[in-house]
C-alpha cells in the first residue's frame, strides 16, 4: 500500500439482511449475514478482483460500494469522504464517479429506449452537457466500445449479447467515472465473446485510468483482469493479495481448493493438485463459529471453532498478501487428494 489516500477505502463493511417472522407480528427473527467485516482498499486506476462462490457476498459488496445498499456497519470512504450513510443529495455528485456494469445484458437495458437514449441517460440525469452536445458524445462512446456510431437510433433487441454488454460499458463510461464496479460482466456471454468484452474492459481501464472492482466467479478471468484479487467465503475475505502471490502461492486452504477445482482446458501428463471439498457452503443465516470455512476444511481444529482468524500477513507472505487462517499452507502444492470422497464420512 502506498501512503497516498486510496480511491476507495472499505473498513469493517457489514451488511445483514433482516429476516422477518410470520403473521401477525413481523418481528425480526434473524439475519442473513451477507457481508461481515470486510477491509480492503482500491487505488486509483487499479483493478481489484472479488472472487468466490455463489452466496459469498461478492455482489452485495459491489452494491454496497455503489451505495445501492446501505451498510449495517463499517465505513466506505471514497476519496476521503465517508459515504457509508450519505443521503441521496450527498451521493449525487459521487454517483457520477462510481458506475456499475451488470451481468445480464438483456435485463439491464431498457428495451423501449434507443441506444442513444440509454447511453445519454446518465448525462441527462446529471444535467451534463458535453461540448458538441450529448449525441456527439454518445457517438464517441459507441466508437470507444467498438460499436458503429450509426447504431445510435437502434433498439437493444437489434444487438447480440456481446454487443449489448458493450452498450452497458458505454453507458458506464458516459460520465467519465473514476471507479467501475463490474458484477460478473462476462459470465452471461458465450465463450468466444467473453474475450472480446474482457479485452474491451482492459483497454478502457488502461487508457482511461479507471479503477475497477471486478466481481466474478471465474478465477482465470479475474486473474487476467485484476492486479489484486480478494477471495471471499461466506461474507468474509479469506485471502487477498497481488495476483501473482495469490495464484502462485495460495496460503488459505479454501483458495487452494478453489483453484484446484477449476477445470482447465489442457491435457496434463501429470495430473494437477486436486482438492475435493465435501459438502456445501453453510447458510449465511447461521454461519459456523470461528473460522467460517472450518466445516469443510481438512485442517480445522478446536481453535478454528472458537476463534475467528484475523486477516493478516501470514509468515512467509509478501507485503500486501493477507490470509485469514490459523494454519496457512506452507508447501508450494499439496500432493495427493487429502479429502475423502465419501460424503458420509464428512456428514
Amino acid at each position: 500500500m502506498s501512503d497516498t489516500t486510496p480511491l476507495l477505502d472499505v473498513s469493517g463493511l457489514t451488511k445483514h439482511f433482516p429476516i422477518k417472522g410470520g403473521f401477525p407480528i413481523r418481528r425480526t427473527v434473524g439475519a442473513v449475514q451477507a457481508v461481515d467485516g470486510l477491509d480492503f482498499q482500491v487505488a486509483e486506476g487499479e483493478s481489484l478482483g472479488l472472487v468466490g462462490e455463489s452466496g459469498c457476498g461478492k455482489s452485495t459488496t459491489g452494491r454496497l460500494i455503489t451505495r445501492l445498499l446501505e451498510p449495517t456497519a463499517g465505513t466506505i470512504t471514497y476519496r476521503g469522504q465517508d459515504i457509508s450513510h450519505a443521503n441521496r443529495k450527498e451521493l449525487a455528485p459521487i454517483r457520477s464517479e462510481i458506475q456499475m456494469i451488470f451481468q445480464d445484458p438483456y435485463a439491464s437495458l431498457n428495451p423501449r429506449h434507443t441506444v442513444g437514449k440509454i447511453i445519454s441517460g446518465p448525462m441527462e440525469i446529471n444535467g451534463i452537457n458535453p461540448p458538441g452536445g450529448r449525441e456527439k458524445r454518445v457517438r464517441e462512446l459507441l466508437e470507444i466500445v467498438g460499436l458503429n456510431p450509426e447504431h445510435y437510433n437502434r433498439f437493444p433487441h437489434e444487438f447480440s449479447g456481446g454487443q449489448r454488454q458493450r452498450i452497458g460499458v458505454a453507458r458506464a463510461l458516459a460520465l467519465e467515472p473514476k471507479l467501475i464496479v463490474a458484477d460478473e460482466p462476462v459470465s452471461a456471454l458465450d465463450v468466444s465473446i467473453q474475450a472480446q468484452v474482457v479485452n474491451l474492459l482492459q483497454k478502457v481501464q488502461r487508457e482511461l485510468g479507471i479503477a475497477f472492482v471486478f466481481i466474478a466467479h471465474d478465477l482465470a478471468i479475474v486473474r487476467h483482469f485484476s492486479q489484486r484479487v480478494a477471495v471471499m467465503y461466506l461474507g468474509k475475505i479469506v485471502e487477498i493479495g497481488d495476483r501473482e502471490d495469490l495464484y502462485d502461492n495460495p496460503r488459505h486452504p479454501y483458495t487452494r481448493a478453489l483453484l484446484s477445482a477449476v477445470p482447465e482446458a489442457t491435457v496434463d501428463e501429470e495430473p494437477r493438485e486436486r482438492i475435493r471439498l465435501t459438502g456445501d457452503v453453510p447458510s449465511p443465516i447461521n454461519p459456523p463459529s470461528g473460522c467460517r470455512f472450518r466445516t469443510r476444511c481438512w485442517k480445522a481444529t478446536e481453535k478454528c471453532a472458537t476463534e475467528a482468524p484475523p486477516l493478516v500477513q501470514a509468515e512467509g507472505n509478501k507485503p500486501g498478501h493477507l490470509t485469514a487462517c490459523h494454519y496457512p499452507e506452507t508447501e508450494p502444492t499439496i500432493p495427493a487428494p487429502r479429502l475423502s470422497k465419501d460424503p458420509e464420512a464428512a456428514a
Binding site: E53, S192, V198, R223, A265, L277
Partner: protein, 344 residues
C-alpha cells in the same frame, strides 16, 4: 449386452433437425453424424445456438413432432429411434436412456418429495411396489452421495442445496440403470467446488455401470476433465471430432483453435490481450453459405477462390479424428499448431 465392441452403441447419421417458425426454417442441426461406444464419454462443445441441446432432445425423441422435422438416423443398440412409435420411446426413456438437465430446480417437481419422484420412474418401468421403489430411491440417494438418505428421501426439492438437487436428479436418471446417459450442461449452474464433486460422481458411476455418456457443455475445461472424445459444434454442424487430447493439443479447425486461444488460463501470461474470435455466432435462420464459420475465420482468405464462402467443407473422419475445413494439412500446421503451443 447384445452388441459387440465393433458396433457402436449409439450411432447418429446425418441428423437434421429443422424447426418451422414464422420467420422461416431454423436449421438447428444440419447434418450431424457421430458414434458412441459403451462406457465412454463423448463431450459435445459449442456455444449457445450451436445445436448441442437440440441434438440430444432429438435422440430422446422429445421434440414436438408438429413443428419439428427430424431427418437422418439415430440408432441405439441397433434400434432405429427416428420415427419410432411414441410408446416405444416412452419405454426407452428412463429405462435405456436418461437425461440430466442443467437446472435441477426447474426439472424437479416442487410439490413432490425427492423420494416420490425417483421412485415414480422406477415403478413405471419395473412395475415395482411403492415400498420397493422407496427402498430403491434410498439406495440411489446413497449411491450419489446424499448424507442420511433414509431421511432425505422425504425432503422436497427446495430443502436441498443446488449440488444436492443435481445429485438427486442424477439419482433419478440412473434409477433404472440406463445404458446411455445424456447430461446437458449438468454443472453449469453450480459452483466450481460442487462442479468438481458432480463430475467425480459421474466418472465413478460410469466406471461402475459402464454407462455411455454424452456430456454437453460450453466449457472446454470441463471437457478436458471428463470426456474421452470431443465433438465441436458450430452453427448446427460438427466442425471437429477426435480424442480429447488431440483436439485440445492440436486443434484442426480454426474455431476450436479460436476457442482455446480466447480462454485465459490460471498460469498464462496476464499482460497481453486475449485473442477473441471476432463477430458473433450465426443466425440459423439465415446461416452463412459454405463454411458457417467463414465470416469469423481468420484463415478464410488463405484458401484460394473464396471456397470457404461457396463450398461446404466435408467432415472427413479417419480413425475417429477429423475436421470440416478447407485448409490443407500444411497450412493447418503452420497457422494452428504454432500459436496453440504459444498460448498454452
Amino acid at each position: 449386452m447384445t452388441s459387440t465392441d465393433s458396433q457402436p452403441f449409439l450411432s447418429v447419421k446425418d441428423l437434421k433437425v429443422h424447426f418451422s417458425t414464422e420467420d422461416g426454417v431454423v436449421k438447428a442441426v444440419d447434418g450431424l453424424s457421430f458414434d458412441l461406444v459403451r462406457g465412454k464419454t463423448l463431450g459435445i462443445v459449442g456455444e449457445s445456438g450451436s445445436g448441442k441441446s437440440v441434438t440430444n432432445l432429438a435422440i430422446l425423441g422429445l421434440h414436438n413432432p408438429d413443428s419439428t422435422a427430424i431427418d437422418g438416423s439415430i440408432e441405439l443398440d441397433g434400434e432405429e429411434l427416428n420415427g419410432a412409435p411414441e410408446k416405444r420411446l416412452e419405454h426407452l426413456r428412463g429405462n435405456k436412456m436418461a437425461m440430466i438437465f442443467q437446472d435441477a430446480l426447474a426439472s424437479l417437481s416442487p410439490y413432490h418429495t425427492i423420494g416420490t419422484q425417483i421412485g415414480e420412474v422406477y415403478r413405471k418401468h419395473t412395475g415395482a411396489s411403492k415400498a420397493e421403489s422407496r427402498a430403491r430411491a434410498i439406495e440411489m440417494l446413497k449411491r450419489v452421495g446424499i448424507p442420511q438418505p433414509d431421511r432425505r428421501v422425504d425432503s422436497y426439492p427446495h430443502e436441498f442445496s443446488g449440488g444436492m438437487r443435481q445429485r438427486a436428479m442424477i439419482a433419478m436418471a440412473l434409477v433404472c440403470d440406463p445404458e446411455l446417459l445424456i447430461a446437458d450442461e449438468p454443472t453449469t449452474a453450480l459452483d466450481v467446488t460442487v462442479q468438481a464433486q458432480i463430475m467425480d460422481l459421474l466418472k465413478d458411476l460410469q466406471r461402475e455401470f459402464g454407462t455411455a455418456i454424452i456430456f454437453i457443455t460450453h466449457d472446454l475445461g470441463v471437457i478436458a476433465d471428463i470426456a474421452d472424445d470431443v465433438l465441436v459444434m458450430y452453427g448446427g454442424r460438427c466442425v471437429e471430432r477426435g480424442p480429447k487430447a488431440e483436439v485440445l493439443r492440436t486443434p484442426q479447425h480454426p474455431y476450436t483453435f479460436g476457442l482455446l486461444g480466447s480462454m485465459p488460463s490460471l498460469d498464462g501470461p496476464v499482460d497481453v490481450p486475449l485473442n477473441p474470435i471476432p463477430g458473433s455466432p450465426p443466425s440459423l435462420l439465415n446461416p452463412p453459405t459454405g463454411c458457417r464459420f467463414h465470416p469469423r475465420c481468420a484463415f478464410a482468405e488463405k484458401v484460394p477462390d473464396g471456397r470457404c464462402a461457396k463450398e461446404r467443407p466435408l467432415l472427413e473422419i479417419v480413425d475417429g479424428r477429423g475436421s470440416a475445413c478447407h485448409l490443407t494439412d500444411e497450412q493447418r500446421r503452420e497457422y494452428l499448431t504454432d500459436t496453440a503451443a504459444k498460448a498454452h
